[in-house]
Symmetry: C2
Subunit: 190 residues, 2 copies
DNA sequence: AATGTAGGCCAACGAGCGTTGACATGCCAG
DNA sequence: CTGGCATGTCAACGCTCGTTGGCCTACATT
């Protein structure tokens, strides 16, 4: 049993509204400037409700940033296209909602957020690289290289909003980044 | 005359101490959590002195992040090694002092900081790409691609401190990233 | 119908922030 | 010696924040 019998509570809707508002605010403002008062206002409830359900601001952040990158199984597809698939997946994931932007914004200014990012990327990208990396002991290093390029594009495109990075189409981004990621994943150590 | 006769003031040392402390704090904490009071304490003066010399917090940040990437003239060296030279230069620049880390931290959470980063990278990297990019109208896009990889590595290595990214040596980082940057700069459009 | 409890609001707290203006001290020109 | 300006300190302001505890309401169980 993964769920130990969950009776649907009347407050579930409220909790979800708080989480939605929190994700938006954290993504837009980062940890410090995203205030509990503003989040509560967005969710149309009192700030004290946030405390009741999530304990404190950090608890709210932890709950709001439970992240699953939802990386696809790459073992099944031709190894040559792993880079393109991975880049495309991340673009979709990043544009889907504000969770990843929030994680990036908070990870930069908050140590707990940074720790969260380290864990998410090490585990989830690491799992992928372990399957395709030609050098067994180097999977985590390859994962870091892939993360550097993907997070760098996310940073310039979705956070800093460099004009040229924003104006590139999805296909153009994939065309440029896929060979880079492919090389980081599958090339021999230089 | 670039300097209209500057008599050395006794307060120059204090101003410099404030700027040093500000850079450290902005780099370590980001814009919101770097307080004027803490900066003043580091510089061993009263917070009101910061206001006197820099007007307000944003003025202090602007003064503390007057950035010159000091990119070398790349025209003189063989085109094949432009990528490696550029990556190496940025690693030096990033490890030299906290200015770039501060700029990155602040740029992520503060719109004025983001604007500053856009300007710095567009002008200074753009100037380099304009000289080596094979497609005339694409220099700014190439600059954005280069920035995405370089900022991504800076993010994972110096801000988020991913284990594997931190443990790589300078030469290893260059060996992996140089071909990427080289391709972004000089390859034909894919 | 009575009652316990979960859901929600309101007012207030203590702390820290950026910022201000009045006041003390030292230096140099006249 | 004296005045004025640069340098620096001190105490306070108004504000916003995270957080707390008391109180009200409505539903579900008995």
């Amino acid at each position: 049993m993964t769920k130990p019998a969950a009776p649907p509570r009347r407050s579930d809707a409220t909790k979800a509204a708080i989480l939605d508002a929190a994700r938006d605010r954290f993504a837009a403002d980062g940890y410090e400037r995203a205030t509990i008062r503003a989040i509560a206002r967005d969710a149309n409830i009192d700030p004290s409700m946030v405390m009741r359900y999530y304990g404190n601001k950090e608890g709210l952040f932890v709950a709001a940033s439970a992240i699953d990158l939802r990386l696809p199984e790459l073992g099944a597809l031709p190894g040559k296209h792993v880079g393109a698939v991975l880049v495309g997946h991340f673009l979709d994931r990043w544009e889907g909602d504000g969770v990843l932007t929030a994680m990036l914004r908070v990870g930069v200014t908050n140590e707990a957020g940074a720790e969260r990012m380290r864990a998410v990327f090490a585990e989830q990208i690491g799992a992928v690289t372990a399957g395709v990396c030609p050098v067994p002991g180097e999977a985590s290093r390859r994962a870091a290289l892939v993360a550097s390029q993907i997070l760098g594009m996310a940073l310039t495109r979705y956070v800093l909003r460099f004009g040229p990075a924003v104006e590139m189409s999805r296909d153009e981004v994939i065309a440029w980044l896929a060979p880079t990621v492919q090389r980081y994943l599958t090339a021999e150590t230089p």
